[in-house]
């Protein structure tokens, strides 16, 4: 009887460890905060009250996503309809279920569409962060919740954006944690958010000015004209469509704060 109890305890411990990389213990609490996004629609208040939320400390990795694909075969790259992801989907993996040398297990997963990212987060009982949530989390420097007023901090991020993307991405977690305990929001990959085309809309046919595509046609004014790195992120996200995949685009998951875990 005691050996059965020991075996059960060992199995529980093993599964607990397996969950450690992507369960709720691997998330940090962010906010609550009065957040001033770079862009707000005309007529809306300049500050948004964001309740506290949980955000993954690290981007989702190739190994994480492989577990998802193995458990949900319709998300294999040979199975998924093209309206849910373009032909670049998981193209850096050796096969539909084997990572291979161009997709290190602990590197951030890329070549995933918004649909795939969203499905992964939902499989984990989580969700994608909203644009405001992600930007709030990413506005933090190592010591301040809002590092955006520091020219030096803004310069550092901009210099990361100037670096070419390596063909094989490095492992997650190398960056220092920010004020909230999150790593790699800058300097590794761009990240999907739930409402990625909420600010400008998707410039799908490339011919129209952003903002004019909307029937109400309100103009957006950037709040801090010097924050070019933030502008680049908004511009990048607005160029996306939900089915697009990119070698530089990954994601992490968020969750609502629950009173009891």
């Amino acid at each position: 009887m005691r050996s059965v109890a020991l075996i059960v305890a060992a199995l529980l411990a093993l599964t607990a460890n397996a969950q450690a990389g992507h369960g709720f213990s691997s998330m940090a609490r962010v906010g609550p905060a009065q957040f001033r996004p770079l862009y707000t629609p005309t007529g809306a208040p300049k500050e948004v009250a964001l309740p506290a939320f949980l955000l993954d400390r690290l981007p989702v990795t190739n190994a994480d996503f492989l577990a998802f694909v193995e458990a949900n075969p319709r998300w294999k790259r040979t199975q998924l309809p093209r309206f849910l992801a373009d032909e670049g989907y998981l193209s850096h993996w050796a096969t539909e279920t084997r990572l291979g040398p161009e997709a290190p297990a602990h590197a951030p997963v890329t070549h995933v569409s918004w649909f795939a990212a969203k499905a992964y987060c939902e499989w984990r009982g989580k969700r994608l962060p909203t644009e405001n949530e992600w930007e709030l989390a990413a506005a933090a420097s190592e010591t301040e919740p809002d590092g955006r007023t520091s020219a030096a901090w803004r310069e550092r991020i901009l210099s990361w954006y100037a670096r070419p993307l390596p063909k094989v991405l490095p492992d997650v977690g190398a960056g220092a944690p920010n004020y909230w305990g999150l790593r790699d929001l800058h300097g590794l990959v761009w990240e999907w958010v739930l409402d990625f085309n909420a600010t400008f809309g998707s410039d799908g046919d490339g011919a129209k000015d952003a903002g004019l595509r909307f029937c109400a046609g309100s103009s957006l004014g950037a709040d801090v004209k010097d924050d070019y790195a933030s502008f680049m992120r908004y511009a990048f996200r607005s160029s996306l469509e939900a089915r697009f995949t990119e070698s530089s685009l990954g994601f992490r998951c968020a969750a609502d704060v629950r009173e009891s875990p």
């Binding site: 007529g43 809306a44 199975q79 032909e87 409402d195 809309g201 490339g206 029937c215 697009f244």
Partner: protein, 197 residues
Amino acid sequence: MRTWLFALLFSVLQAMPAAARDESIYQLKTPLRDQTGAAVELGVHRGHPVLISMFYGTCPAACPMLVSRLRQVDEALPANVRADARFLLVSFDAARDTPAALATLFKAHGVNAGRWRFASTPDPQARELAAVLGISYRRVPDGFEHDSRIILLDRTGVMVGSFDAFDIPPEQIAARIRQVAGQQPSAAPAAGRRAGR
């Protein structure tokens, strides 16, 4: 000789297509509640060519114009295609666009109850459907901002056309519907990756 046979076998295997992906958007199974109060799924018009778009009921200008545009397309169709085609408008605003509100709008627009349907779906499904259809929208203080895309689905629910409602003349959209109505169902997706990549 054996090398040649292997090479031949290899090239034949390479040329064989992978199992066809199902490109029908009806596999989303988006739940819809329509202007009659009926609970249906996105695939309710399977078997017919469908023009689908998204709107919201309290929209002051663009949405009424969108519906007018779709009516012009409807009227440009020859009688046999007209009987076959279906028009589905899905709201972004499930909270306000209840069946009763949709019914009022439906009546106000005077569209054919046998071939047109106004429906709404909860927020997460609306977001997913808009993303699939390529329709951008966002909430603003007094409603929504959104673009005016109309998407054509073939009889199996595959997207075979996407039009800006106000850029493309109704006759052109009607011509495309006639083509699709005359075709076998398509397995290929309409949109490849964006140009230039």
